[in-house]
């Protein structure tokens, strides 16, 4: 009887120990997965913004102005181009890099596709969906607003309610072609030495020096297509009809072409459209600092 009781007591101890071990294991697992930190914005995440001054520019293209123009670049049945007047905005000089996106991923507030972090850190980030790009902008915007080490002009803009997000299609095109209606950011003729296109893969952002490019922006042609904040609609471009697309099954505009594209697709007026959920090796983005509401 006492032997049986002793054995039973030992049995209970064994079971209890096993269960405790399981609980501790699970607790450590749970702790590890729930440990998220809201880190301060790392210096490398702060983009270099370039001012694009307020004023009108010519948007769109047609065969009369550009023999390579696609039909979807034509402003209207009667005009190849239209004039769009934009207030001042600040475009990031470079596409968002893998390193910058990794800082966002590390903050742990957004689930990113692991493929987005697989390329070298100074290459443009790819494999990002349209919401991923907007989420990055939102994170960067919040981080900049919290930051205590910003240039005075940037702090002033943010304090006025400006925000970091994706550029609209018009902002992108103006930043790429300038006010003088260029076919390519550097001028009228294609030049593979000035941008990463017709090649096998992405290149580090800014590797192709282009001092002649409008506003000194890098990689506006090639490297990766860049998401914009505009739904893909026929021209003429109207920034105020965003809500008119509510019943559409819309694609979202991307601009600039990618590393493997021919010259025709990396022109400043070329319009691409992609499913907002698309994560591809050739789609990335850059951010803008803007005072517009949407």
């Amino acid at each position: 009887m006492s032997v049986s009781r002793g054995r039973s007591r030992r049995s209970h101890v064994v079971v209890t120990c096993a269960l405790l071990a399981a609980s501790v294991w699970l607790a450590s697992v749970s702790g590890a997965s729930s440990a998220r930190s809201v880190a301060d914005l790392p210096p490398e995440a702060i983009p270099e913004f370039v001012e694009v001054p307020a004023g009108p520019f010519l948007m769109g293209a047609g065969p009369a102005t550009d023999p390579d123009a696609f039909d979807n670049e034509r402003w209207s049945p009667t005009a190849a181009q239209g004039t769009v007047d934009l207030p001042t905005f600040y475009m990031a000089r470079h596409e968002v890099t893998v390193a910058q996106f990794a800082a966002f991923a590390k903050a742990g507030t957004w689930r990113v596709d692991p493929r987005a972090l697989a390329a070298p850190p100074d290459h443009p980030v790819a494999f990002v969906s349209w919401p991923d790009a907007l989420a990055y902008g939102r994170w960067l915007d919040a981080g900049l607003k919290r930051s205590s080490s910003l240039p005075a002009w940037l702090r002033a803009r943010l304090d006025e309610g400006w925000r970091v997000t994706l550029p609209t299609e018009a902002e992108w095109e103006k930043a790429a072609r300038g006010a003088d209606g260029r076919r390519f950011p550097w001028g009228h003729d294609p030049d593979p030495a000035r941008a990463n296109y017709q090649r096998a893969g992405t290149a580090p952002v800014g590797q192709f020096a282009c001092p002649a490019c409008a506003f000194g922006l890098a990689d506006m042609s090639g490297n990766v297509w860049e998401w914009t904040a505009s739904p893909y609609q026929p021209y003429p471009y109207d920034p105020d009809n965003l809500r008119a697309t509510i019943d559409d099954d819309a694609l979202w505009v991307m601009r600039g072409g990618h590393f493997g594209d021919p010259a025709r697709l990396v022109r400043t007026t070329t319009r691409g459209g992609a499913d907002p959920g698309a994560r591809r090796a050739f789609i990335g983005f850059r951010v803008v600092l803007t005072g517009r509401r949407f």
Binding site: L26, W130, P131, D132, A229, R243, I246, D248
Partner: protein, 510 residues
């Protein structure tokens, strides 16, 4: 000495051999789980081999197969076959199930020999493993815990025992014991995401007529083991309590069923272990009533504290197992009273299994006729919950949110956008713009355009009608999505669910 040790070695070798199957071998965490489990078993065998030099060779019996093992196992296999037909991950899981069976045999055998007991090599581990896996699996990355889950079940069976009717027997239903332990641990550590529990509970009802299938399979078990009173009384309790709640509050208790399909399965294959149930039909009836009440209560408690409600069916069984002697004593005490004799509950009819089964068949038919089994349930319709929420019916808004979370998880963009709007508005849930942004993103990635616009300006919280793609998910009534349903039928069904825009569209197309 060598002969007796061949059995556990063979099971362990089988476990290792399974890592050659691509499903296991191609996944590093799975492969290591299997190797780890095999290493533990091999080390244990080595230790026993050393001991056997001193104490002699352990004994292995090959007894006649016992029907409570193989009949249960066959019924469970039938359930897996049907479930897997309608949810392919079940078939994909089969190599992992086989691994658990091999592990269970080896573990049980070594456990017996460690305790200096002979081992009865039969079908015993089958129903334990099969019933455990009908309710909970760990994901591939955490599959080592599945082996621990199995081990705990067998440890409970071997060590947690008591004297009952002059025999030393295990107290707990082994699968229910380990499921309950792990359920509590997973809930306490907020680690439910390590398992497929929610998917299992949700997809179990995906097959058409699942209640009828479980009922039919359950009849086979009932025919052999006289456990009908447990199932019937638990089902009657749950159905009755559900109906009463619905009548008082105007909304169903279990959202989209009178008894959830996975709970209905539990009534048949989890709580019905004859050796850990009361002895008499009346006792088993009481046992079932208590199980029904406990599921009913746990569902409310888990839901109220924001925990996954599918654990409701898993947590109470060990406590009920502990109550079995008390139930038996109670039945003995009241069984002497003439009123039970007059009701026939102590006479031949009260003990007659076919009579119990007949009562259960009638009861199930009544439940089915009242919409408590297969077919559309009023809680399947989202407009019903939207209306109930705006009417401020009890729990209606919480359940609306829960349904939308579930449909959003299925990639219904409309549901994700609605959730985002709730988190912007802060009326049904506390305002949380970050979470709203996450939901809008999910909706936008399914090309639900209002959600994409909401990402640009979350405070706008724009809404829209569900698209056909969304309706194929929202109208599935607990079963499969309706990818092949022609659009006119889809909109007709949506209209039946109370979507007014679908009724308008239907009318316009006539």
């Amino acid at each position: 000495m060598g002969g007796a040790f061949l059995a556990p070695l063979a099971f362990t070798a089988g476990l290792l051999a399974l890592t050659l199957v691509p499903r296991i071998g191609d996944h590093p965490a799975l492969r290591w789980s299997f190797w780890g489990a095999a290493a533990v078993l091999l080390a244990w065998q080595a230790a026993l081999a050393v001991r056997s030099r001193r104490e002699g060779v352990p004994v292995l019996h090959l007894p006649t197969p016992r029907p409570q093992h193989y009949v249960q196992a066959l019924c469970q296999i039938g359930i897996y076959a049907y479930w897997g037909w309608h949810w392919p991950p079940v078939y994909d899981f089969m190599p992992l199930l086989a691994g658990q069976l091999l592990f269970a045999f080896a573990f049980d055998l070594l456990l017996a020999w460690s305790r200096r007991e002979p081992y009865q090599l039969g079908f015993g581990p089958f129903p334990i493993i099969l019933s455990t896996n009908l309710f909970l699996w760990f994901t591939d990355d955490w599959f080592s815990l599945q082996f621990l889950l199995v081990a705990v079940g067998f440890l409970g069976k071997a060590f947690v025992r008591w004297e009952r009717d002059g025999r030393r027997v295990h107290i707990f239903n082994p699968s229910a014991f380990t499921l309950a332990i792990f359920s509590v641990a997973l809930l306490l550590t907020d680690s439910t995401h390590l398992t497929w529990g929610q998917e299992i509970a949700t997809t179990f009802g995906a097959g058409p007529n699942i209640y009828l299938v479980v009922f039919t399979v359950g009849l086979v078990v009932m025919y052999f083991f006289s456990i009908t009173p447990v199932t019937a009384s638990a089902a009657a309790t749950l159905f009755g309590a559900s109906a009463l709640y619905g009548a008082v509050t105007g909304v169903p208790y279990f959202i989209d069923s009178e008894i959830p399909a996975a709970v209905f399965l539990g009534l048949h294959l989890l709580v019905t272990d004859p050796s850990t149930s009361p002895r008499t039909p009346l006792g088993r009836g009481l046992f079932g009533v208590l199980y029904g009440l406990s599921v009913f209560a746990l569902y409310a408690v888990l839901g109220a504290i924001g925990l996954p409600t599918f654990y409701d069916k898993l947590m109470a069984v060990p406590l009920l197992n502990l109550a079995v002697p008390g139930i038996d004593r109670l039945v003995r005490a009241i069984g002497e009273r003439p009123v039970l004799e007059r009701l026939g509950l102590t006479g031949p009819l009260g003990r007659l299994n076919p009579a119990h089964m007949a009562v259960w068949i009638v009861l199930f038919a009544a439940m089915a006729a009242r919409g408590g089994a297969d077919g559309m349930h009023r809680g399947d319709a989202l407009p019903f919950w939207e209306q109930a929420c705006s009417d401020e019916r009890p729990q209606a808004c919480e359940r609306l949110i829960r349904l939308e979370v579930s449909y959003c998880g299925d990639n219904a963009g409309w549901a994700c956008n609605e959730l985002g709007r709730h988190y912007v508005e802060g009326r049904l849930v506390p305002a949380d713009l970050d979470l709203a942004f996450v939901y809008f993103s999910r909706a936008c990635e399914t090309r639900f355009q209002p959600a994409c616009l909401n990402l640009l300006e979350p405070s706008a919280a724009l809404g829209g009608d569900p698209r056909a793609l969304d309706l194929r998910l929202l109208l599935r009534e607990g079963g499969h999505n309706l990818l092949d349903m022609p659009e006119p039928d889809l909109y007709a069904r949506a209209c039946r669910h109370g979507w007014s825009f679908a009724c308008d569209r239907q009318a316009a197309s006539r």
